[in-house]
């Protein structure tokens, strides 16, 4: 086997034991690693019982996986998966973390956590040897304080190398908030999916990994080295502006030119506040110190510091998604305000996208008089950083109105609709439990297509959008391959280069059709698990839709009046189902399963018909 070790390290937290699980090469060839491998392992383990698996019970496995390209392709990403407490399916979530490299250098392609600890614990892995240790002293902490104290604890408790990387949860994860992220370093997050809550449900505060071995051998080291150098040069050349400005450049470009940035819970998608731009961030909050993770040639991360009410707030730039969701979506158009809220989300261990989305939903309800001051306990106002920070903390600690909002936008809308006796789901900007990423579809100028979110097996995830052509870098097959490789979407070149890379690492000799079939296989299996769903939410063909707001005309900006057309979306839906080999209800056909080598999962289709 080349590029992978062919084994995972499984830890049973309840029993306090660990074992090595062998994975045949055929499985890697069919699913790669990361998101694809997680989907396969979960489908195989649970099959029809998937429906009854509570994502927030210790029975839900939490998978930290690498892929065949980990360690060889520029950059480093760790895949985090399990049954998502947001979508009740598998969401492939990724975070930049050297834990991925250390796992591979430990002789394993990933770590699977099963069961749960009785008391707060952390997991330390050194060269494949597992220790489950007491984490009482760091439980409750987040952000910088957690990082400092956990580094000391690792040194004292297990004599770990001072540079041992780890992933962790903040207070939100501990409180099983469905918008909680798995965090790395100060401001990196595996946000989509809500896996911070899954880790919290297992009472695992952190996972630290150190490996002193080598990476698995590759098939053609010499030509891989040549390809690596050429790819590296090409990436650096293309991503110059990104290296200079980070993703925050989108704050102006996406908001002003493309008119596809969320403003006040997506009631608008355009702004013309010039100070709310990369230049504004540069002048107001940005410390000029680009930083990157292991092997990353892009260095899109920057560092921002803001002083507010006597406190210092530190975060990355913030990146575009944070500037959008914890800025314009909440009516905050000051770099300082966005940095304060982004830094607070990091500190609490919250996904800024999912949390900014549910906060925008709450502020709109308050503005419309649907939520009252008595229910919230204080006033909610667009752009008021003080009340927004308070609301975010209430969500992380499940206090007051935060108890409902901690369930995420979809479930909060459902709960409040029941309570109020009116349909509030029209204000919920989500698809299948996942808040829509900060790239709108109404202007038609940004990259997502009208069916991108509606048909994604990861709902509103902007890093896994569905699209045409179905075998191209516009398709969800492509994104699922990146998440399974596991590679960063900002360091990839085209599909031919990635395929060449994969072949040189693994020696599989795949062609482009087989390459895209891997992606189609992954999303087809994800689709089956999504449709099986449960236990508290199910999805069907009617949920293959955009949030209702996206069918309303844009009220402002250069594309004022522009909106999605339902007939067009319906037509594209039919076309997509047909091209994916799914029936008119979006259920994969038996023939498709046969073609993709997924016959063993055919009985699961019975639950869907």
């Amino acid at each position: 086997m080349k590029g992978v070790w062919g084994r995972l390290l499984e830890v049973d937290l309840t029993a306090g034991t660990s074992r090595s699980i062998e994975i045949p090469e055929k499985v890697y060839r069919m699913f790669l690693g990361g998101r694809g491998l997680a989907t396969y392992l979960l489908a195989r383990e649970f099959r029809e019982k998937w429906r009854f698996l509570d994502p927030l019970s210790p029975d839900n496995p939490l998978l930290f996986l690498t892929g065949p390209l980990t360690g060889y392709y520029p950059g480093v990403k760790l895949s985090v998966s399990g049954k998502s407490p947001q979508s009740n399916s598998v969401i492939g979530s990724v975070v930049s973390s050297e834990v991925a490299i250390e796992l591979k250098a430990s002789g394993f392609d990933g770590l699977v956590l099963k069961g749960g600890c009785e008391k707060p614990c952390y997991v330390y892995v050194e060269n494949g040897k597992v220790e489950i240790r007491d984490a009482s002293s760091i439980w409750g902490l987040g952000g910088l304080q957690l990082i400092k104290q956990f580094n000391s604890l690792l040194k004292e408790d297990v004599k770990a190398d001072p540079k041992t990387p780890f992933v962790y949860i903040g207070p939100a994860g501990e409180n099983k908030v469905r918008t909680a992220a798995v965090m790395a370093k100060l401001a990196h997050a595996a946000g989509y999916g809500g896996y911070g809550a899954v880790m919290g449900a297992k009472r695992v505060k952190a996972v630290a990994v150190k490996g002193y071995g080598s990476l698995p051998p590759v098939d053609d080291p010499e030509s891989l080295n040549t390809l690596f150098r050429s790819a590296l040069g090409n990436i650096k050349e293309r991503m110059k502006r990104f290296r200079q400005w980070g993703t925050t450049e989108g704050t102006w470009h996406t908001g002003y030119y493309l008119s596809s940035m969320p403003v006040k819970n997506w009631s608008e998608e355009w702004h013309n506040v010039k100070d709310f731009s990369h230049v504004g961030f540069e002048l107001e909050t940005w410390v000029k110190n680009p930083w990157a993770d292991w092997g990353c040639p892009v260095a899109c991360m920057k560092l921002s510091i803001a002083k507010w009410k006597g406190e210092v707030f530190i975060t990355d730039n913030p990146d575009y998604e944070m500037a959008a969701y914890l800025g314009s979506n909440l009516g905050v158009f000051s770099p300082r305000g966005a940095v304060v809220l982004s830094s607070l989300a990091d500190e609490l261990g919250l996904c800024g996208i999912q949390t900014g989305n549910v906060m925008g939903f709450a502020v709109e309800l308050y503005e419309k008089g649907i939520l009252t001051r008595d229910e919230v306990g204080y006033e909610l106002k667009w752009g008021n950083v003080e009340c927004l920070a308070r609301l975010m903390k209430d969500i992380a600690y499940r206090r007051g109105i935060g108890e409902v909002l901690a369930e995420g936008t979809f479930r909060a809308a459902r709960l409040l609709s029941e309570k109020k006796g009116v349909d509030l789901t029209k204000y919920a900007i989500q698809v299948k439990g996942i808040a829509v990423g900060a790239h709108g579809v109404r202007s038609g100028k940004d990259y997502p297509q009208p069916i991108s979110y509606a048909l994604s097996v990861q709902g509103g995830d902007h890093t896994s959008v569905a699209g045409f052509p179905v075998n191209s870098t516009e398709s969800e097959a492509w994104y699922s391959i990146l998440d399974s490789g596991v590679v960063c979407m900002f360091t990839v070149l085209d599909d031919s280069t990635l395929l060449e890379y994969l072949n040189k690492v693994t020696g599989w000799g795949l062609d482009l059709g087989e390459f895209y079939d891997i992606g189609r296989r992954i999303i087809t299996l994800q689709r089956i698990l999504l449709l099986i769903g449960g236990p508290d939410a199910d999805w069907s063909v009617k949920d293959d839709d955009n949030p209702p707001r996206f069918y309303e005309p844009l009220p402002t900006g250069p594309y004022k009046g522009s909106a999605l057309k339902r007939e067009e979306v319906d037509e594209l839906k039919k076309k997509y189902y047909a091209e994916m080999g799914w029936d008119e209800k979006g259920i994969p056909s038996e023939e498709t399963l046969r073609r993709l080598g997924l016959e063993e999962f055919t009985p699961m289709l019975n639950m869907l018909h």
Binding site: E237, G250, Y257, D319, P469, T473, D495
Partner: protein, 76 residues
């Protein structure tokens, strides 16, 4: 006098051609070609090839060529 055509993968492989009166840098050709089909995509967001060869933006093209253009980077 190269005639350079761009084939855009994300717009149904639409092909647009430009006649140049001298050799041209890939960066310039890509900018011109992108302008013809859509203004929202920058050259940083695409990867270009001639046949099997991955192009650098500093490469010079002097012969008639068809560049296949794939959009990869799509926003933060």
């Amino acid at each position: 006098m190269p005639r350079i055509c761009g084939k855009f993968s994300w717009i149904d492989n639409r092909e647009v051609c430009i006649q140049y009166d001298k050799c041209v840098r890939v960066a310039e050709a890509l900018t011109d070609l992108l302008k013809q089909v859509e203004k929202k995509t920058s050259i940083e967001a695409v990867v270009a090839r001639i046949g099997g060869k991955l192009l650098s933006i500093n490469d010079i093209i002097c012969e008639d060529s068809i560049i296949t253009i794939v959009r990869v980077f799509k926003g933060g």
